[in-house]
């Protein structure tokens, strides 16, 4: 038996002694800062994680959770700040250093080599001999032991590409344990799992905790947090909002902290006058890039002259729904009907088909999908519409007509600086967003799909963008709006639809619903049609915990 496995074995003989010592800190982060370009991903983060605890970190997508944990794992280096592991200050230079310190991480997108076997993936980087055979032999024995101890069975000779995502995740956990990880960071571990697999994973957590290991769980699913964590830290926009003891909080408080409450901006709008149905979505199912179902059968209607807002904690399928309706992502199932015309979603040109049907789309990520950032403004102002006859016929493109159109858009939308020859990258975020909006609105679409219209946009531009959207509504257009800003949804929408875990879990009247009720809906608390199995499990789990605590 090798030294490492002996050490593990000894540890497994004395589980309770370590976990009871909860005063000891496994990890302490002090004033961590990290930025990518001008954007701060983490700002002055302080965090304490007790040894032997399950610590949750929640926040919306882009709140900086993953960046923070990548810093802890040595994948990124912080710009400033201190890290203490087990009370000692350390500078984590790279991942191998983090591994030496006993920190293992299970990434959201698995770090596995697809055409390698499980065994090869487990020993990669931890081979202790020049030849592979002895390392493999040792790993095979160790894997069998870990499999038994933690219920992590997986065929060591199977290729990763042949395994289910759940099993791939087991390999990731085994990889960390094989390297002797004492602190295990898991990034959105249940996002790709079925409820049964998730339940199994939580049982594994229990065993790990009993062995005195510390678990850091990154997620935006509040029910999981409530069910399995001891403490929970909330992050928002790169900052640490608060750390709470899980028992002393509740989902609606967490939801509020996550989404953040900001001043409700006054938007002047008259009463909606809905007409015919212009956009109809029926039983739409959509998967993301790695094949996980994100939209699980959504049906909705948008009428002429109304704004329908989709609210939800980000990552619950809103983005994928929007992308599918806009023709950027092929749905697995279901129908999209624009002005009575069903969209075929046959080839790669669904977006063009939708545009011809009278739909326009402002994508959530203007840099990635809305603009060619290195083009001049006039080029972006006709992007996607360059085949229109008014810009020249056949191969010919009339630069003059394009520039005239660009000038018209600049004037109408007050894009600053008013220079069509300026590179798009040199406009501010708000003005870039106006360039996209101007282009799509100028086409006078009957159905208008808007994602995150004011993300990263300054206050002045927000107002003008909101007014343009309201004006569209008053002109009798059907508008579907997705935004992470709850206030924006509430002030613009005539109807609010709440999405949770790929389903529509409720509909609300923005004038009657209060923030607390919306927060509960968004956290999936009072939903009727959620996953029964998961629900039952969580109830079970809470009951168990209570029973255990009572017994102690």
């Amino acid at each position: 038996m090798t030294e490492k496995s002996q050490k593990n074995r000894r540890r497994s003989d004395i589980p309770a002694a370590v976990s009871s010592n909860s005063d000891e800190l496994a990890i302490e982060l002090i004033k961590i800062n990290k930025h990518f370009g001008p954007v701060y991903a983490n700002r002055d983060i302080d965090l304490k994680i007790a040894k032997g605890s399950v610590h949750g970190i929640v926040g919306e997508n882009g709140a900086g959770k993953t960046t923070l944990m990548s810093i802890l794992y040595g994948f990124y280096t912080a710009d400033s700040g201190k890290i203490k592991v087990g009370g000692k200050e350390v500078k984590i230079k790279d991942s191998s250093h983090a591994l030496q310190l006993g920190i293992g991480m299970v990434h959201q997108h698995f770090m596995l080599v697809d055409n390698f076997s499980v065994l090869e993936n487990v020993i990669l980087g931890a081979e202790d001999s020049v030849l592979l055979a002895p390392s493999k032999k040792k790993a095979r024995i160790e894997l069998a032991r870990l499999a038994e101890e933690y219920e992590l069975e997986v065929d060591p000779d199977a290729l990763i590409e042949d395994l289910s995502v759940g099993q791939q995740q087991r390999v990731e956990i085994l990889k960390a344990l094989y390297r002797g990880a004492e602190i295990l960071i898991l990034d959105e571990p249940t996002g790709v799992l079925t409820p049964a697999e998730a339940a199994h994973l939580f049982r594994v957590f229990d065993t790990l905790k009993k062995q005195g290991k510390t678990i850091v769980l990154i997620t935006h699913k509040l029910r999981e947090i409530m069910a399995i964590t001891d403490e929970v830290s909330v992050m928002r926009r790169g900052a640490m909002v608060k750390t709470l003891i899980t028992k002393e909080t509740d989902p609606s408080e967490l939801a509020e902290l996550m989404v953040g409450r900001s001043v409700l901006m006054e938007v002047k709008k008259g009463i909606a006058n809905p007409g015919d149905i212009k956009l109809e979505v029926r039983d739409l199912e959509v998967s993301d890039d790695i094949g996980v179902k994100r939209v699980k059968g959504v049906s909705l209607n948008v009428r002429a002259g109304e704004i329908v807002g989709i609210a939800g904690v980000s990552g619950n399928g809103q983005s994928e729904l929007l992308e599918a309706i806009a023709g950027m992502r092929k749905p697995d199932n279901g129908k999209v009907i624009v002005k009575g015309q069903e969209i075929a979603f046959k080839g790669d040109d669904s977006a063009a088909e939708l545009r011809l049907a009278g739909l326009a789309h402002v994508p959530e990520d203007r840099h990635e999908h809305g603009l060619v950032i290195s083009f001049e403004q006039w080029e972006n102002s006709i992007l996607g519409y360059s085949d229109d006859d008014k810009y020249g016929k056949g191969l010919y493109l009339s630069v003059k007509a394009c520039k005239n159109e660009a000038k018209k858009q600049i004037e109408e939308f007050d894009i600053r600086p008013p220079n069509p020859l300026l590179k798009t990258a040199n406009f501010s975020g708000g003005n870039q967003q106006k360039i996209v909006l101007a282009r799509e609105i100028s086409r006078d679409p009957d159905v208008f799909i808007v994602g995150q219209p004011t993300r990263g946009v300054d206050i002045g531009a927000i107002e003008s963008i909101h007014n343009h959207i309201i004006a569209m509504r008053d002109a009798g257009k059907a508008i579907l709006l997705v935004s992470v800003e709850l206030d924006e949804i509430r002030s613009l929408s005539d109807r609010i639809i709440v999405m949770f875990d790929g389903n529509i879990v409720g509909e609300a009247d923005p004038d009657k619903v209060n923030e607390g009720e919306l927060g509960l809906l968004m956290a999936g608390i009072s939903s009727q049609d959620k996953d029964k199995q998961e629900e039952a499990f969580v109830k079970d789990k809470i009951a168990n915990d209570l029973a255990n605590k009572g017994a102690v």
Binding site: F36, Y73, F75, Y76, D94, S95, S96, H97, A98, L99, M105, H107, M111, L112, V113, D114, N115, F116, E120, N121, I123, L124, G125, A126, E127, S129, V130, L131, L132, A133, S135, K175
Partner: protein, 323 residues
């Protein structure tokens, strides 16, 4: 017996012509398995051939020549590595630059040093690798069939030929049975997984690229101081590209590389043998048509037969850790 002898000669010639392709394709295999596409095999081979010929001519020592050839290959590989690994440049463009650099520099230096139109002077005694006879080659010569195969086909090549063929099982072993190989393959497939496992991705890629340089240098040395007795203008004549084609055809696997390069070597040998020969029904085939055979095959194979050859997944992409 006449036909048998002809076949033996043809195969013997095939083996000699396969060696530079085999070495270059294996060189490419190391580099590309680590995720660095290398279109500069040709240039590194050419530079290696030149370096080997110059040093062998000046020193009269074939071994010094060979090591010089490998050294030049390594230097060229280092340039490729710095451009495409450290500075995350486009690997293909860096490779093209290597090819131009080698093509220009060998002519320029050759002409200004030796004034023989870019060629190097004929090698002195001891400067060229000569054939070595394996034991009993002479004694077995007259045994029918087996004797001919042993004494003509297997025996009587220079040492680089044997090294080249021994590189195939060695590469297989290194790639699939050692820690180095596991990490190398993983780096070409998913560098992030390698990085998170605590292995330095760029360092792995440098190692692979330098091995590639040494092997292309050896391939070049073989051309100038073993197969011929001196460097000739552009003497690689596209062999680096054919090696690249063979590598893709072989799906980046060592044993397949052997078969693929033997096929190309055979066509080359056949091409030389068929020149001026009257074929039944067809008559004499123009030399140019026969010379084009290996290249036509390359196009056909690459376009038609290997539609599903999927290379290392991370190939061609510089590794960037932070977004």
């Amino acid at each position: 017996m006449e036909i048998f002898n002809n076949i033996i000669f043809l195969l013997d010639s095939m083996i000699r012509l396969t060696v530079p392709l085999l070495l270059a394709a294996l060189a490419g295999l190391y580099s590309e398995r680590s995720g660095v596409f290398d279109i500069g095999l040709e240039g590194k081979m050419l530079a290696g051939a030149f370096g080997a010929a110059v040093v062998a001519y000046l020193s009269g020592n074939m071994w010094l020549g060979m090591f010089a050839g490998m050294g030049i290959g390594i230097v060229m590989a280092l340039i490729h590595g710095i451009a495409s690994i450290t500075f995350r440049g486009n690997q293909i463009i860096a490779g093209v630059a290597i090819n131009f650099l080698a093509a220009g520099l060998t002519v320029f230096l050759g002409q200004s040093w030796f004034k023989q139109g870019g060629r190097t002077p004929a090698l002195p005694e001891g400067g060229r690798f000569l054939a070595i006879d394996l034991p009993f080659a002479d004694a077995l010569k007259d045994v029918p069939i087996v004797g001919g195969i042993y004494s003509e086909l297997i025996s009587g090549h220079n040492i680089i030929v044997y090294i080249a063929f021994a590189m195939v099982p060695f590469t297989y072993w290194l790639l699939f049975k050692t820690r180095f190989g596991l990490r190398l393959r993983a780096t070409g497939e998913n560098p992030k997984a390698v990085d998170t496992a605590g292995v330095n991705v760029n360092f792995m890629r440098y190692k692979a690229v330098l091995i590639c340089g040494a092997l292309t240098g050896l391939a070049g040395s073989y051309l100038s101081i073993a197969l011929s007795a001196g460097f000739g203008l552009n003497m690689t004549a596209g062999m680096g590209f054919i090696a690249l084609a063979a590598l893709i055809f072989a799906k980046w696997r060592p044993w397949y590389v052997l078969w693929a390069t033997l096929l190309f070597g055979f066509l080359n040998a056949a091409q030389i043998r068929l020149q001026g020969v009257e074929l039944p029904y067809i008559g004499e085939v123009p030399v140019q048509a026969i010379q084009a055979l290996p290249y036509i095959l390359t196009v056909v194979l690459l376009a038609g037969f290997i539609g599903k050859a999927v290379g290392p997944k991370a190939g061609g992409i510089p590794y960037v850790k932070e977004r």
